[in-house]
Amino acid sequence: MLDAMMKTKLFAWVDRRLGLESIIKSQLTEYPAPKNLNWMWVFGAIAMTVLVLQIVTGIFLAMYYKPSAMLTEGGFSLAFDSVERIMRDVNFGWLIRYTHAVGASMFFLVVYIHMGRGMYYGSYKEPRELIWIIGVVILLIMQGAAFFGYLLPWGQMSFWGATVITNLFGAIPVLGDLIGQLLMGGFSVGDPTLNRFFSLHYLLPLLLVAIVGGHIHALHTVHSNNPDGIDLDQSDPKNIVTFHPYVTMKDAFAVSAFMILYMYIVFFNPQMGGYFIEVDNYMPANSLQTPAHIVPVWYLTPWYTILRSFEDKLLGIVAMGASLAILFVYPFLDRSKVRSARYRPMYRGMLILFFIDVIVLGYCGHSEPTATLKVVGQIATFYYFLFFIALPFLPKVEKTKPLPEGV
């Protein structure tokens, strides 16, 4: 099909002016992909699909959403009412909003699996350090976009979540007050905060698209890692398949399967028991009353637990920042020459424990704080950092297994 299209006169006309043929060849039909990529390699394509869906649904929601905390005649705010109007009056508004709200959770789910894949098979290691680092930037921007977006419905959880996080920045020494006021445009979360959060919520995904471009460019410069984590002779057809049609078709299949799951949730269980959309957020924001149990959405709870694990406010904030910042130096902390955890027994054990650890952190952050859970959270926080700090010393004690010659 593509071949037939590339033989047409129209294509030749465009090609002479855009160099389309060489792009198609170098990025698709002749771009080499390792033959042994497993299903864990489909999550990048799925993440891109979700990003596009988030942007498209977001654009359509913005046609009806009103970022204003002004009170309406009914006593609610314009923002809260406009979201309810989208749910009740706008044609298919419920579908578009649920796709967007569930999409936030799905985006993080897919990206966390995508990151876990990279960690397990050593995709962050030489020469792919920049792909990983750009990926961490993507994660941070996603967290920012999610945080800004969460304020927009102007419900109780929106309001108090934003209050907590902006106060967090307020605890930074010297500059805290200034940063808090810069974020809020006032002395508490209010109408100016809502307006600027909407503006930034619109900006960040567009930024994300550009940075994802960089992520992919870096990938296509050094080419994909593979489950064995070995360097493959790219010119040997025994090792590789072309990206199109082999990987594109596999990705398309995976995206279809993912969409079935995603849409099942959108249609039948959009709140996901309060995990994807918190029930308390259907109460309009009230600046004079905090909800009884306030927690971030699930995808931010691991970091929330790290924050809560320290008695000292500033120390908690520093630890939370460090838990994210340490991801930037992860490729340089890991000194092992072997990439894939398949051939690194100790790393494999530590990493699986790390995955469990992050889930435990998430669970603790989502539950009401109790004495037991506090200790569990502190232990989990300790292991989170221990994992990274132990990495440089690992090659001294770890006996790696012999690597295969080819695939």
Binding site: F60, Y64, R85, D89, V90, N91, I96
Partner: protein
């Protein structure tokens, strides 16, 4: 390499996959485009009530109906008399060209000429059928009041300031105007002597 491809099978798969993809793409577009159509609350606010007795004789009031301006004009017998004698200068004297310029109640030649249920109250959509500006009300005959903004044989009616369309006092478009049709009428009914429900 010898070509062992079963081309008819492969072409069938291309068409089947492409066709399904197109159907899925089309189905995805439905909710997105659908969301841009008027929402339920917009549709619900579709009628306007108005007391026509508040319009003084010979005067015009602009009210809003579905976000659009609507002329409610109180025509005196003199103004109604100005409707006769210039049928050959009108593009569509009997309001028959399109559905939007006629209504069910236009069941007599008299009502077709007056374009109103009660002859004195003309109620029409105030958007020029050319490009939607609101025409200016210039009811008196000739150029005495209006100068050369109207033709010398002016019969009284409306003049659109945007591109110079002219309508007579039954909002029927005069030949030579860029506007293609008479001003649109909308469904309305009198629920008592003086109160009209538009829409």
């Amino acid at each position: 390499m010898t070509d062992q491809t079963d081309h008819s099978r492969r072409n069938f798969l291309y068409v089947a996959a492409g066709g399904l993809g197109a159907v899925a793409g089309g189905a995805t577009a439905v909710p997105f485009l659908g969301s841009m159509l008027p929402a339920a609350d917009t549709l619900a606010a579709a009628t306007t009530e108005f007391d026509v007795s508040t319009v003084a004789e010979g005067q015009l009031v602009v009210v809003q109906w579905q976000g659009k301006p609507v002329f409610v004009t109180h025509r005196t017998p003199e103004l109604l008399a100005q409707l006769d004698g210039h049928d050959d200068e009108l593009k569509d004297p009997n309001s028959e060209a399109i559905e939007a310029v006629q209504a069910e109640w236009m069941d007599t030649p008299e009502k077709r000429k007056n374009r109103s249920i009660k002859p004195e109250y003309l109620i029409v959509v105030a958007s020029c059928t050319h490009l939607g500006c609101i025409p200016l009300y210039k009811p008196s005959k000739g150029r005495a009041e209006w100068g050369d903004s109207v033709p010398s044989n002016w019969v009284g009616g409306w003049h659109c300031p945007c591109h110079g369309s002219y309508y007579d006092l039954a909002a029927r478009v005069i030949k030579g105007s860029p506007a293609p049709h008479n001003l649109h009428v909308m469904p309305y009914k009198f629920i008592n002597d003086t109160t009209v429900v538009i829409g």
